[in-house]
């Protein structure tokens, strides 16, 4: 079996432009990284940090697409870097890496995710048990049949890892800094469909209007780019639909 960590037989080299800087500004700096038969964009960043410039700031944890901490802009497009193969995105051997868009930069490839998660909180993205408003574990398990439509609607968005790829890809977030954004609204829609949740009305109130789902233009970049294959755009549409009838006092 081939040793995957060996350089490709050609001795090929990747040209990697990495954005270096902080909140006050920065620039691209070029690094040469050995091309390997099998390597992810995160492997490339790690190589630069370990072998070339130890002060490069970036973030990762799980390396297997679960934690959502490794997203960056790769050749102009937000991606999860731990599960993005260099071969797929840089056929010509040139990579350009920048920090996620629409978020303040801390340093180099690390952005401050606080505004992103603050918006989850504003969209009331935490489950609030109906039977135990104080957050205690309910005495009885709530049975929600997997085949019920509400359960399926909730399941559709549950796998979000909070990577911020959709948020960085949304033009409306760029144009309207108050906009809650696709991930927070996807989370709200998931909970709106959770029959065990007791905060339906306050949540619907929190996600309507100019900073909420009604700001969305349904351009679907979020759905196109979500690495988990979720459909935040569809979630926003669901919220709009539900809110429309909700205003006239008809609630499902």
């Amino acid at each position: 079996m081939q040793d995957r960590s060996e350089p490709a037989p050609t001795g090929a080299v990747l040209q990697v432009d990495v954005w270096r800087g902080d909140a006050s500004g920065g620039e691209l700096r070029r690094y040469q990284v050995p091309a390997r038969e099998n390597q992810t964009v995160l492997d490339v960043v790690t190589h630069i940090q370990r072998e070339i410039e130890p002060d490069l700031a970036y973030r990762f944890a799980c390396r297997v697409g679960m934690c959502g901490s490794c997203a960056m802009v790769v050749n102009g497009r937000a991606r999860w870097t731990c599960r993005t193969h260099v071969k797929k995105v840089a056929a010509d051997g040139v990579l350009e890496l920048r920090p996620l868009a629409n978020l303040p930069v801390i340093r180099d490839l690390a952005t401050d995710m606080a505004p992103f998660f603050d918006k989850w909180a504003r969209a009331r993205g935490t489950f609030q048990p109906k039977d135990a408003p104080d957050g205690a574990v309910p005495a009885e398990f709530h049975v929600v049949p997997p085949s019920s439509p509400k359960r399926q609607a909730a399941d559709a968005g549950i796998e979000c890892i909070g990577c911020g790829v959709c948020y960085a890809s949304c033009d409306i977030v760029a144009w309207n800094p108050d906009y809650l954004g696709p991930a927070a609204l996807n989370r709200a829609w998931t909970l709106v469909n959770d029959v065990r949740d007791g905060a339906r009305q306050p949540r619907l109130d929190a996600v309507k209007g100019d900073a909420g789902c009604h700001a969305c233009h349904s351009t679907q970049s979020c759905t196109e780019r979500c690495p988990k294959g979720l459909d935040p755009s569809g979630a926003v549409a669901g919220l709009k639909r539900t809110l429309f009838w909700n205003v006239f006092g008809w609630d499902r």
Partner: protein, 107 residues
Amino acid sequence: MRLWVIQRVTAMWLAFAVLVHLVTILAAVQGGLSAAEILDRTRGSLGWLGFYAAFALAAGLHGAIGLRAVAAEWLGWRGKRLDAAWVAIGLLTAGFGISAAYGLYAA
């Protein structure tokens, strides 16, 4: 003010009204089109007055609320006072349309 509700209700009504409007135009030109012929149909017709007044109201509001979003996103024009101005612009535009519809009714 729930402008987004107005935007959706007017969108639904416009989808229907534009259709009626187009079909009416197609039907109306069948027998040749003259001012006299149009006035024949619209003069004193409360139905057409109501239809076109509602059409103009929806179009005025829908257009203004749409422009409001464009102005907010591209120019950063936001705020309650501007909202009131957009509604006023919408009603003003609607007023032109309604007065035209009334002109055909009262002619």
